[in-house]
């Protein structure tokens, strides 16, 4: 009989092996579901893998998808370091896109050389403001931020619809809900000619380094870590919880807002629906898979970016909805959670008798 037995500490191989095994196991579990959806799993996985890794263009497009994912991943992991769940990165991203569109189309700045910096800053500000609503409710009224950040997503998406079906609708769009296109001066610069890789990549990498620096090397980061490790101790040490909630969530919202401004300015060149196929929600998985490490988030963002690109391909070749990507991400997330837990156990072959825990059962050092 096979039994599970608790380890004294998680297995040493776990840190590296769990994410890799989990991603493989999650994708394997997806095969059955593809079959259920009436799609050959083989064709599905061929499509998922060939697009992102099959060509230089594929690699560049994976990078394009990784840019917003790095930022939304950071927007989730920074508050998570102090045990706050920001699952509103999707809405913060949408607000960033709205503000960037406003600067590009409805201010004189949109056609000047200062347009790009201005719209990026506006996007960050809007994302921050959107996140500060739940942050303030949490800081001063103790309202559960998990639910409020999420509900704000629905409001933000409706706000985008309100604008592009209403006063921001392009009169020349033949009835499609789109804003007019951004003027050339408001388009974020392309880094590599011939691809869509844009300057947002440098900003996302800089943001990741900055978040790492803040957490590892500043007094603010120290306070965040103390709160995360032991909120009681933080209070006794005189660390202001409310101040840290507001600052951390504000920065998180700004990062997600930057992602939205980048998507509107570099990729779509206008405000439209479907600007994000769920980058904000995927940020949760980026943060968790990276074990809340801002540098690790970059790596994970590239992996999940490839998945989104593969999903785009499946949409075209097999007519599958982009939501398939969510399905696979959910499976991977399950496997990661299960894998992390199992790494705390070992399989034991033997009789079903309950062994007394004690030093005798521990492996020699």
């Amino acid at each position: 009989m096979i039994r599970l037995e608790r380890r004294a500490s998680p297995a040493p191989w776990a840190a590296g092996a769990v994410p890799v095994v989990a991603i493989l196991a999650g994708l394997a579990a997806g095969a059955g579901l593809f079959a259920l959806a009436g799609v050959s799993p083989l064709a599905a996985y061929a499509g998922l893998l060939s697009d992102p890794f099959g060509s230089v263009f594929g690699w560049s497009e994976t990078t394009v998808k990784a840019i917003p994912l790095i930022l939304t991943g950071l927007a989730v992991l920074l508050p998570a370091r102090m045990r706050l769940w920001n699952i509103g990165a999707e809405g913060q991203l949408q607000c960033g896109a709205i503000a960037a569109t406003w600067v590009a189309l409805w201010t004189p700045l949109g056609r000047t050389a200062g347009a790009v910096p201005a719209l990026l800053v506006a996007g960050m500000a809007a994302g921050a403001v959107w996140c500060l609503v739940p942050a303030a409710l949490r800081a001063w009224l103790a309202v559960n931020e998990t639910i409020t950040t999420l509900l704000m997503n629905y409001i933000a998406v409706l706000l985008v619809s309100f604008l592009i079906y209403g006063s921001w609708k392009d009169p020349q769009s033949l009835g499609f809900p789109l804003s007019p296109p951004f003027p050339a001066a408001s388009r974020l610069w392309v880094l590599l000619p011939g691809t869509r890789v844009h300057a947002g990549l440098l900003l996302a990498l800089a943001a990741s380094a900055a978040v790492w620096l803040i957490l590892a090397r500043t007094r603010w980061g120290f306070e965040i870590r103390v709160i995360g490790d032991n909120p009681q101790a933080a209070r006794y040490a005189g660390i202001s919880l409310a101040r840290n909630i507001v600052l951390t969530m504000g920065l998180a919202g700004a990062l997600a807002g930057l992602a939205g401004a980048g998507e509107a300015s570099a990729i779509a060149g206008r405000l439209q629906q479907g600007l994000s196929p769920g980058y904000g929600y995927t940020g949760i998985i980026v943060a968790w898979l990276a074990r809340l490490n801002p540098l690790g988030a970059v790596l994970v963002a590239f992996l999940l970016g490839a998945l989104f690109l593969g999903g785009d391909g499946l949409q075209i070749s097999l007519g599958l909805p982009i939501a398939v990507v969510n399905m696979l991400q959910g499976l991977v997330f399950f496997c990661v959670l299960g894998g992390e837990a199992l790494a705390g156990y070992r399989l034991v072959l033997g009789r079903g008798r309950v062994a007394a825990p004690g030093p005798a059962l521990q492996e020699p050092p």
Binding site: M152, N326, G338
Partner: protein, 305 residues
């Protein structure tokens, strides 16, 4: 007449949320937070719709939806109860998975019409002035939800099993010492949550709209999670919260239909804004009256401590 129509619509709009809220209430009472309600509702909505279309029997649809929701909830149960994983993370994974799964499997059913539950006025009761029109001219799932509210209250407060559920949620060590299976009670409660969320989804697709649309729950699962807090984990207050939500939803839909000079997309925001406000109010109330969450909520239980 307008008021009666809005009230009847409020009951219908509140029903799916009521079912999901009651289910989540049981899970949380046993100490397990399940943020996967939205995903379970969506998969339930699809399963119920597909089974109804293929068998022509909405009752089989409801059965399939409950089974789908319950089955999905077991993933959460295994991860959180047996493997002691983080409950917030596992619930989010469940919502992300359920959203994707229902969209992927449901693509062939978009635009397919279904003959779901027809309204069946309750003989006698339907003719009561005002109340009859508001409460008793609906479909059977609405009546089922009426019965579930007092049943949930009775089960929680007047049965031995309910006592065990509350004990496991408040003080699992004590419940364990008293001979209650903490994991067993929690599995059952999480499964009840899944079944009821699935039923709530099926109500949306087979009775409320009669069609399947990707993401058709539109946040109702999250609203249910918020309403559990508003309800202070009490089934009777859960019903009040769900119908309040239904009222706001019905009012904005009726204003849209009446051609009010308010932009549609701003009207559509009102249920979410309302839920946030309700959450603020409820948080202040619970703090003032010291009606906290179950003490062991979202804390994994390990016997050795």
């Amino acid at each position: 007449m307008f008021a009666l129509a809005v009230l009847a619509a409020a009951v219908r709009a509140g029903t799916p949320v009521l079912l999901a809220t009651l289910g989540e209430l049981f899970a949380e009472r046993s100490g397990i937070l399940n943020l996967g309600v939205e995903g379970m509702m969506l998969v339930g909505a699809l399963a119920g719709f597909v089974a109804t279309v293929q068998t022509g029997n909405p009752w089989l649809g409801a059965l399939a939806a409950g089974a789908a929701g319950g089955g999905l909830s077991l993933i959460h149960a295994v991860l959180c109860i047996t493997l002691r994983a983080n409950q917030v993370a596992s619930g989010l994974a469940l919502t992300i998975f359920g959203t994707g799964l229902s969209a992927a499997l449901g693509r062939k059913f978009v635009g397919v019409p279904a003959s779901g539950f027809p309204p069946e006025p309750v003989p006698g009761l339907a003719r009561i002035p005002v109340l009859g029109a508001v409460l008793f001219q609906h479909d059977p799932l609405v009546y089922l939800s009426y019965l579930l509210v007092p049943a949930a209250w009775f089960a929680l407060y007047r049965t031995r099993w309910g006592l065990e559920v509350r004990a496991v949620g408040e003080h699992p060590e004590a419940a364990d010492a008293a001979g209650t299976s903490v994991a067993g009670v929690r599995y059952v409660c999480v499964a009840i949550g899944g079944v009821l969320a699935g039923l709530g989804g099926a109500f949306l697709s087979t009775a409320y709209t009669g069609m399947w649309i990707e993401n058709m729950t539109a946040g109702r699962g999250w609203i249910a999670v918020a309403l559990v807090i508003f309800a202070t984990w009490d089934p009777l207050r859960a019903a009040a919260g769900a119908y309040l939500f239904g009222g706001v939803n019905a009012l904005q839909l009726n204003l849209q239909a009446a051609g009010a000079r308010l932009p549609v997309y701003l009207l559509l925001m009102t249920p979410y804004v309302f839920t946030i406000l309700v959450l603020v109010f409820a948080t202040r109330e619970t703090a003032r009256k010291r009606l906290g969450a179950p003490a062991a909520l979202s804390v994994p239980y390990t016997r050795s401590g």
